[in-house]
């Protein structure tokens, strides 16, 4: 029975719209997977020389053992964000004559098919089979490696229970990260050393198999614990945590009403963003991205030697929300696009509501980025130019590109590793957005006037802003023509 269910999940993957229809996405995903595997393996092979030569540690095995505890801590965090038990997938099986226990086993076994579960093997297998095996014998190498793999799988099942038990709250996670950070800090400052405590434990696997046995036992018990836990809660309404988001619940941006029906639609969109998980994540991410500049502006290498690169940073800081949210501009409201088309709002007003919403956020991002003036006036100068370019040019690129076969988006799903709604348009879109400014900048920069180049970018933005009525009209006309195709695309799942 379990193999049949596994074949179903394979069919689900293979037949999903994004897999069959979106070549670009599948290519990207396979490329991504290959990259992860490649990098892990490469790092694994280089591990010994990195530690002995790069970090100047004498005993690479000892050193690695002392770091392992933090590796698993890090793995826990990665898993926390990337891992989920897809409990809803079993809904169609619950009423059929199938043992519940089998369904739970299936879920738990299927959850093992995750990229993260291979990383520990890829990372440490080369090291185990070369360095450890040479020093302590092949058996010791395997014993060490298998122990690590089992610990990683234990972490896997701990995360599943942890996330469910804590109802996936950020608070629980932050508490955990805090504890781990505190331990790392105390290790670093020498108050209390967790790594000193655990390093011999990992080392002992070479001589005896106590740890291996212990970990195997732990793995078994964790599987059993998960099994019991999910067996008892195999109810669809209990499995999905219906979190009642308080975000934006009582907010009504009444001042928007003074802008007429455009304001009403912006108001609707603000509610959409605040009340749903995925767009909300994008909003938070944008706030986070405001700090992006700290990576670059603090280093002279970027500010002095590569001024052209700062255009990039400027585009991102002022336009990250516009780009990230805007790439799915119509997809967000995909589930009620028919509604939109049948309500008394003209296409022009609809387009304008999007335009003003994106513009407003971009201006807000610019205003929030003003403290970067600390790193020099030039940075604000670049930010201002990029804001103008975003407002005058990029916004129209996004408005128009987002009309290219948009797909419906499930708003409640999380944003991490969620490829729903991504199509060819999203890949192509980034090219003009990121390279556009250079079209105006490079000619001046090459002729030795980089400042004039930045002015040219700003001028291009200003021209776009001046042409706004005309560009909006063009955009409206395009949406007018494309709306049937878009609407029928949204009606498909």
């Amino acid at each position: 029975m379990i193999p049949t269910l596994l074949s179903h999940s394979w069919k689900k993957l293979r037949r999903s719209v994004s897999f069959t229809k979106e070549l670009a996405t599948s290519i990207f995903l396979s490329f991504f997977a290959l990259m992860v595997v490649g990098y892990s393996l490469a790092l694994g092979f280089a591990l010994d020389s990195i530690i002995t030569k790069g970090l100047k540690q004498e005993d690479s095995f000892q050193f690695l053992n002392s770091l392992l505890i933090y590796y698993f801590g890090f793995e826990f965090m990665m898993r926390y964000f990337m891992q989920n038990l897809p409990v809803l997938d079993v809904q169609p099986y619950l009423h059929l004559p199938m043992k519940r226990s089998r369904i739970v086993h299936y879920l738990l076994i299927k959850s093992l098919a995750h990229v993260l579960n291979s990383s520990v093997f890829l990372l440490f297998a080369p090291f185990a089979l070369t360095v450890v095996a040479q020093r302590f014998g092949a058996a010791a190498g395997w014993s060490w490696l298998i122990s690590l793999c089992l610990i990683s799988l234990c972490v896997h099942y701990i995360v599943l229970i942890f996330k469910k038990g804590l109802d996936d709250t950020l608070l629980g996670f932050l508490a955990l990260v805090g504890t781990l950070g505190l331990l790392a800090a105390s290790d670093y400052y020498g108050w209390f050393s967790l790594s000193e405590l655990t390093a011999p434990l990992f080392f002992s696997t070479v001589h005896n198999s106590y740890l291996l046995i212990g970990v195997s036992f732990l793995f078994g018990s964790l599987y059993f614990l998960n099994f019991q836990f999910f067996l008892k809660s195999m109810y669809p309404d209990e499995l999905v945590v219906h979190k009642t988001t308080t975000w934006g619940k009582n907010q009504d941006w009444t001042f928007l009403q003074s802008f007429g029906s455009i304001g009403e639609w912006i108001n609707l969109e603000v509610k959409l963003i605040l009340r749903n998980k995925r767009p909300r994540t994008i909003l938070f991410l944008s706030a986070f991205f405001l700090l992006y500049g700290l990576i670059f502006y603090t280093r002279d290498a970027f500010t002095e030697k590569m001024p052209g690169f700062l255009l990039f940073v400027g585009i991102f800081i002022t336009g990250i929300f516009m780009i990230n949210y805007g790439q799915f501009l119509f997809s967000w409201q995909g589930s009620h696009f028919d509604f939109t088309l049948t309500r008394p709002i003209s296409i022009r007003q609809f387009v304008e509501s999007k335009y003003w919403m994106l513009s407003a956020v971009t201006v807000i991002c610019f205003l929030l980025s003003i403290p970067y003036v600390y790193f020099g006036w030039k940075i604000i100068f670049i930010h201002a130019a990029m804001t103008l370019f975003n407002l005058g040019v990029n916004i129209f690129v996004i408005l128009n590109m987002a009309m290219w076969e948009p797909k419906k988006i499930d708003l409640q799903k999380g944003a991490t590793l969620n490829y729903q709604g991504i199509g060819a348009a999203q890949w192509v879109m980034s090219i003009p957005i990121l390279l556009g400014p250079y079209l105006f900048y490079l000619p001046f920069s090459f002729s030795g006037h980089p400042d004039l180049g930045i002015l040219a970018v700003a001028a291009a933005g200003l021209i776009g802003i001046a042409l706004r009525p005309f560009l909006l009209k063009l955009t409206t006309r395009r949406l007018q023509e494309r709306r049937y195709t878009i609407a029928s695309g949204f009606r498909k799942d």
């Binding site: 179903h8 199938m98 669809p236």
Partner: protein, 231 residues
């Protein structure tokens, strides 16, 4: 067949279903009617152990359904699209459910022949995924799958909804024919008083989760129902 004892489900303190005692006998055709939000689907879900009751129990053939897998062998059901596996074709889905009931390919073929009329050539043999079917056709797939495995009890939520008039009539004939041929208990909810009274000999009216009428075997069920809903 089904015995419900002090069954209660509340969400955040508000009771959605509150049934004191209800017994549905073998070979009975039981209709459930009630306005929106009366708790029909919630009641069905609790009978099928898809929702954990706040209080009380549901027993099928004397055994509590909760955490029990046995009843699934003789209870067929279709409540909504969550019962279907959207990325399979109807044929694959039937085959999968058939396998669970130990159907051979020949058994399944024979079984599906009964539905040829209802399917109207639009479901089997087409290379279409369930996710691409229309609402009416989804319903047909779900209802047909509920009959796989010669169930003693069939639970259907709004079986006539979304079906075209021809299909409604054919489905009605099919349901009646099945019950004549063998011992079969129906548990059907519907908003269509005409259809439900034609199939069901016993009708229970649910209001705010409570059983407020239990009408049995009278000749003018339909009139009584209409009388009630008019008020």
């Amino acid at each position: 067949m089904i015995s419900i004892q002090a069954l209660k489900k509340s969400y955040k303190g508000t009771p959605v279903v509150d049934v004191d005692q209800l017994y549905i006998g073998q070979n009975e055709s039981f209709g459930l009617v009630g306005n929106n939000g009366a708790g029909k689907t919630t009641l069905f879900r609790m009978i099928l152990d898809l929702i954990r009751p706040t209080e009380g129990t549901v027993e099928i053939n004397g055994k509590n359904v909760q955490g029990n897998d046995e009843w699934k062998h003789y209870v067929g059901s279709y409540l909504d699209e969550n019962f279907l596996i959207s990325y399979l074709t109807p044929n694959e889905y039937f085959k999968f459910v058939g396998k669970l009931h130990n159907y051979s390919d020949a058994d399944l073929k024979e079984f599906l022949e009964k539905f040829e009329e209802l399917f109207h050539g639009e479901i089997t043999g087409k290379n279409k995924y369930i996710s691409d079917l229309s609402k009416g056709n989804l319903k047909k797939v779900g209802i047909a799958a509920a009959f796989i495995g010669n169930p003693q009890l069939v639970i259907l939520d709004e079986p006539f909804e979304n079906l075209d008039p021809t299909s409604q009539i054919r489905l009605k004939q099919f349901l009646e024919r099945e019950q004549k041929e063998r011992s079969l208990t129906y548990l059907i909810s519907s908003h269509d008083l005409n259809h439900v009274t034609e199939i069901c000999k016993r009708i229970v009216i649910l209001e705010k989760g409570k059983v407020i009428r239990d009408l049995k075997g009278s000749d003018n069920l339909l009139m009584e129902l209409e009388e009630y809903f008019k008020a």
